[in-house]
Structures are given as structure tokens and as C-alpha cells.
Subunit: 406 residues, 2 copies
């Protein structure tokens, strides 16, 4: 697997260059409000972002590709300059990273659903009646206490939320080309865990997984609802070439949620503490500014309010970041990028495929508007930028790239 080497075999300058801050408002892009024709970003009062736009190159980011709605993992990998297709992280791995589990290369991870099966083994509820977090956790604890691990394999079970959990297998010679056991609808029995190809590691691992699932049926036999597991998204964790190796950047991530620290760690970024508020995130950035070359700072609320369908809430989340912006611009980084990993329009209530308004502020910018919004970015200098090319731009503006060819 290639990890998305940069498109042009970038010649990183040996003598360093400027500092870069990448400010990500998760799910930043929006859709126009039917009453005003303005998106969340265009509706927000953002004097500081607008002033920044006036000294930035503007453009629209296409995180993965036209029409492709990225999950958070691919969205962030693209922002970090890794081809999100080539570097695709399996869902199981993303979930394990999301709950903060420290994966090692070779670990196999899968997503689990607690489910209900009847006495014939037929699935009657794929989510076990959506147990409370507390009840879900209790069931997982129960399995954890009674499960006999197969020889030579370390099994980790982590409750995530409600009916969702994560399975991690650690051991020599494991594979992850394993079909989902979730039959996708009720009235069917779970699909046996089988290898999808002929790889012996995956065949062996599939047998291990089936053994675990069979044990779980016995352990949970007397549970009224959550009496079995469905597994899906098997994936093996591979290490990534680090940010420092690829770009010559010592990088740090500041993010309140484990998922984002997880993806950043995956590419070798340092993590300096866990902020407990957006202001706290800026505080960590300030305290560590100067010690790194690249600073990734992540704000989540824009995405959350988008998922809630809360247009005004998303507007307010953007305005909160705008209020914090002077402390970030005040640090004097050579390059400041403001973007999102994807759009989460409040009207759509989900991640979407729409391009993401993006600004690149540096002294080498070609400004075109004094407003930061979908409309101004659409007419900006950068055009539509593939997500994975944003790092090339960041490096160029920071004076960190050599000329390509004589």
C-alpha cells in the first residue's frame, strides 16, 4: 500500500521554513438558509475571519472527490496530505482510534453491535433495543470478564456508546479480509465470520473471530435483549509515514475529541494535553507555540450543530471560533489555514460532499475578497483544491518547498 506520496514527489527544503497553523472547523461547509440564501458561515458575524480572508488566497476544498462524502478519518487524512483513497483506514481501526485505543501495527479491529437473536439464532433487533450507555457498558464488561482468549491472541473489547463497541485482536499473523457478520436486516441469522479471500492470516483470524462470537452467545444467553454481537468493518492497522518524515515538519495536534487526536497521532503528530473547552484549545496552542513547525487545531461544534440540524447553533459555533481567532493570528505563524474536513450543512444534518470554504493566509497570498464564505471562496484564487493538495500549498506558502525541476 502506498500512503499517498505527495503528487509530485515534493522536494522538501533541507533548511526548514515558516510555521503553519491549520485551523479546522469540523463540518464547516454549509447550505444556504431558505429564507436568506446565506450559509451558516455567511450568516455568522465573523469580523476576524473576514479580515483574515482579505489577506488570504481563497478557494474551495474538495476533501476526497466530487460527490464523495468523507468520514472524519479520510477527511482529516486528506487535510494532512495523505491520499484518503490510498491511505484508507478501515472502519474498525477508526473506531478503535476514536475510543482512544493505542493501536499497534498488525492489530485487527472491528466494530461491534450488540444485537438480539431469537432461540433459532435469527436476528430480531440489530441494535438490541438501543440499550442505554450504562447497560451497554455492563454487557461488554460481562463478556470481558468471562471470555477465554484464543491462544496467542490478546482480545480487547471497548464499549463505545449505546449498542456500539469495538473489538481489537493483537497477535502474530492476523488478517482482516473478513466479511461482516451483520446480515444488515432482521429475520436472518448472522453471517458466519469468513475470510473474503484466500489469505491464510485472514482465514485463521476469521476462525478466531467466529470462536469469540460463539462464546459471546453462550456468555450472554440469559440477557433479555443484548444476547449477541454483530461484527463489521474488519481492518488491520498499518503505520503511516510520519509528518516529519514526509514534510520535515514537527507537528502537534490540539483537539478536544479523541478521534481527531487519534488520526493526528496516526501520522506522528504530538499531542500536548487534552483541552476541556475551545478556549482551552487555544490556550494549549499558545503555550506550545514555537516548539513545533505545524499546529493542527480542531474545533468540533460546527459539525455537531450541523448534525443536530441546528442552523443557528452552527452559526454561533462559527462565531465562537471567530472570537478566539485574534489569539491565534496574534501568534504570528507564517501560514494560517482555515478550513474544514468536510461540510455538515445544518439543513442536511449529516456530513456531505459539498466543497469546504478555505483560506490560506500568508504574505504570498493573492486576496480576492474581504469576506470568508462559500460565495467568496468559490470565486477565489485557488479554485477547487483537492483535499490532499492543501499541504502542498501550505508548504509552498511557508517557503518549505524547492523548485520542481530546473
Amino acid at each position: 500500500m502506498s500512503h499517498g506520496s505527495l503528487p509530485h514527489d515534493l522536494a522538501i527544503r533541507g533548511d526548514g521554513g515558516g510555521t503553519i497553523i491549520m485551523l479546522v472547523m469540523d463540518g464547516l461547509g454549509g447550505l444556504p438558509h431558505p429564507d436568506t440564501g446565506r450559509t451558516e458561515l455567511e450568516s455568522a458575524a465573523t469580523p476576524h475571519l473576514d479580515a483574515l480572508a482579505a489577506r488570504s488566497s481563497l478557494g474551495m476544498l474538495a476533501p476526497v472527490g466530487h460527490g464523495i462524502t468523507p468520514g472524519s478519518g479520510p477527511g482529516h487524512l486528506a487535510l494532512f496530505g495523505y491520499d484518503p483513497i490510498e491511505s484508507m483506514i478501515g472502519r474498525g481501526v477508526l473506531s478503535a482510534l476514536g475510543v482512544g485505543f493505542e493501536l499497534r501495527p498488525g492489530d485487527v479491529a472491528a466494530r461491534l453491535n450488540l444485537a438480539t437473536v431469537d432461540h433459532k439464532g435469527v436476528v430480531t433487533d440489530r441494535r438490541a433495543g438501543r440499550p442505554s450507555d450504562e447497560d451497554g457498558r455492563r454487557v461488554i464488561e460481562r463478556v470481558r470478564a468471562e471470555l477465554r482468549a484464543p491462544d496467542g491472541v490478546e482480545v480487547t473489547l471497548i464499549h463505545e456508546k449505546e449498542h456500539r463497541a469495538v473489538l481489537v485482536l493483537r497477535g502474530e499473523g492476523l488478517g482482516a479480509d473478513i466479511a461482516d457478520t451483520d446480515p444488515q436486516r432482521t429475520g436472518l441469522t448472522p453471517v458466519p465470520a469468513v475470510a473474503t479471500g484466500a489469505e491464510p492470516e485472514s482465514e485463521r483470524t476469521a476462525a478466531i473471530v467466529q470462536g469469540i462470537l460463539d462464546q459471546v452467545r453462550e456468555i450472554l444467553a440469559d440477557e433479555p435483549r443484548a444476547n449477541s454481537f454483530l461484527a463489521r468493518g474488519f481492518a488491520v492497522f498499518k503505520s503511516y509515514p510520519t509528518f516529519e518524515a514526509r514534510f520535515g515538519l514537527r507537528a502537534v495536534a490540539v483537539a478536544r475529541y479523541p478521534m481527531y487526536r487519534g488520526v493526528a497521532s496516526l501520522v506522528g503528530m504530538a499531542v500536548e494535553g487534552v483541552p476541556d473547552s475551545n478556549e482551552g484549545s487555544v490556550g494549549i496552542l499558545e503555550r506550545h507555540f514555537g516548539a513545533y513547525d505545524f499546529y493542527f487545531i480542531h474545533f468540533k461544534d460546527t459539525d455537531s450543530r450541523g448534525h443536530d440540524g441546528d442552523f443557528e447553533g452552527k452559526v454561533a459555533a462559527i462565531e465562537e471560533v471567530d472570537t478566539l481567532l485574534p489569539r491565534i493570528t496574534g501568534l504570528g505563524a507564517d501560514v494560517l489555514i482555515v478550513t474544514g474536513d468536510h461540510s455538515t450543512p445544518a439543513l442536511y444534518r449529516e456530513h456531505s460532499w459539498h466543497h469546504v470554504p478555505t483560506l490560506v493566509a500568508s504574505k504570498w497570498a493573492r486576496p480576492s475578497a474581504d469576506v470568508f464564505g462559500e460565495s467568496s471562496c468559490r470565486e477565489g484564487e485557488l479554485g477547487v483544491v483537492p483535499g490532499k493538495d492543501l499541504m502542498s500549498l501550505a508548504l509552498a506558502h511557508a517557503g518549505r518547498l524547492d523548485k520542481y525541476g530546473a
Copy 2:
């Protein structure tokens, strides 16, 4: 090595089509002047370019890729429709072409620096005190006269400028995966010429190169400063599929500087004389108009003034081309493209990665503005066009492409 087949396996019409002029102002793109917010092109008085823009499709050219600053070689290869990544020309080859040497496929070329080493062989000056052109030429002549060529290999040494020269080896079975011998800083001994991989041709050639460098040390032992060579940028010359084979275009290049005639020759363009002024370039174009299908005309001063950091000088260079433009439009080519191979903003003083304003004038244009500049091109019909796709547009506007698919 693929030579960058066009993106869609272009179907060239068998029955010909219109004539195309590609006018390249080297380093055309700029950055806004801090006082006016206008770039060099936007500051220049360009009535003729503006009138042409009013009947053109406008857009921004991305020569190689987002954030990538192209050298002149990759920049021009892209303009000529060759993928600048796949068709990468090594630096040694570019230098040999630049001094007008007629390379043959299989030739190995490298750049040489005259350098000073002390009695222990430690490099004390990587540029031998920057000799005058005359003194540099004298030293190269001296080596040329005394060097014994290795068996079966023809060695050519060409002085370029000051401390710079070019080495070309011609013979059977040569390779160019050879490390630079330049240690990159003083206080170190030169790096021995060694193959960077296991290719036997390169191992053999590395030994030949080291033999030459050892001889040079002896020949120049009594020179006070220029007493050794440092070699870098080893590259083997491969032939390119010609413009005529790929596009069905008989093409000619008009350029004052050898570098650009060299790249044009590389893709099989004819060269009709060497102009001694910009007006002379237009004169050659006029005299040969009608004899070819495709005319590449190159103006250098925009780039030179950009390198000088001379904003007003670059403005004047653009205005000079504008003054000559009526003689070019007067020829009545079916398609006239005005663009650059990259940006050289006077404020940046170097080639940069910024997009290049571009117009495609033909009767099939979709005009959008009556000004030729970065701002108008940013909002133009073509959006951001990858450099290597410009030729597809040129061929389409000239009626030289068949429909793709039924």
C-alpha cells in the same frame, strides 16, 4: 517511462484543422503590489491584451500542481501537453539543452561547478571564487585539451557561464543513477561518484565519471582557484514522442534563449532562426506564418524582471509585448493562447507556485471580461486548468479533436 499521454487518449482528427499560436510570457503571473492591490499584469496598460481577453475564454493555469513551483523545463513541457511529472527532465539534460548541445537518446549529462579544493582535497569554495566567463571558459578549454577520454565513451565539456559547465557522456550502456559529488558545503571533501542503485550501467558510468574527475584534479593542479569539478544532476536523455506524432501538428518555436528552443526541440518543434530582440521574434513568426500548424513564441523579460524584484520593469515588459500583439493577432491564427510557464512575482523574486492568468482566443470562446489579469482570469470560464491540459483546449478550439466516444 510514459510521456504523459493526454488525459483522454485524444482522438486527433485526420483532416487537420486550424492554426494555433501559443504566446508565452515567461513568469507572467504576479502578486499584488502592496500599494495598489494590483499585480504586474493588472498594473500594466495592455489595451491589446484586454481587447483580446474580451473575445477569449479566460482561466488560471496550474502549471504542475497546487503549491508546486515549476522550473522552466517542467513548466514548458506542461504547456506543450506533456505530463511534467512523468516526463521529468533531469537537470543535467536541461543544462545541456540550454547550452544548445544536440543530445541523442542515451547520452548522460551532468552539471559541473568549477570549485576550489585545498591540498587535503577539502572543498574551500564551491564556485571557485566565481570566475569571469572568460576565465571559466579558459579552464574548461584546458581540461578539454588534456583530458584522455575513457574507452568507448565520448566526453563533451561545455562552458556555460562563470563557474558553471556541462558534462555529456556518449556511448553504449551508460546510466545516470549517480549521486551528486558536490558536498553542498565547504569544509568537506567531494562525494565520490557512486551509483545510487544497483543498476550496472550506472555503476560503470559512476566509475567513468570518477576517473574524469580524478584526471581533472591533476590537469588543474596548478590553477589557483578553479582546480576541481563538482558534478550534480546526472540525467540520461530520452527521446520524446514528437508534437507531430502526438497532435498531428507541425510546430515551430521562436525563442531568444537557448533553454526554450531546447525544450521545444525536445518535443520535435522546428526552430527558424534565433531572434535578437522581442520585435525580432515577432518578425520570425510573421515570416514563417503559414508554414506550420503550431507556433510557440516565447518572451523572457517578464521572468527576468520578476527575478530582479523589479515590479515596474515587469510591468514594462508586459507592456512591450502588448505593443507587439497587433502584429501577432493580425496573422489571423484560429487560436491564440496567451499564458506563462509559471509565475515570477516581482515581490517574490523567484518562480512561484501561483496560478498563471491565461486566455484562449478563438471564435468558440466564452468571454467573461474585457481585461486580462489575475482577477478576471480567476473568474473566467476555464477555472483552474492543469498545465498539461492546455493543449487539449488548444486542439479543441482549433477543431482538431474528434468527439470522444459515440
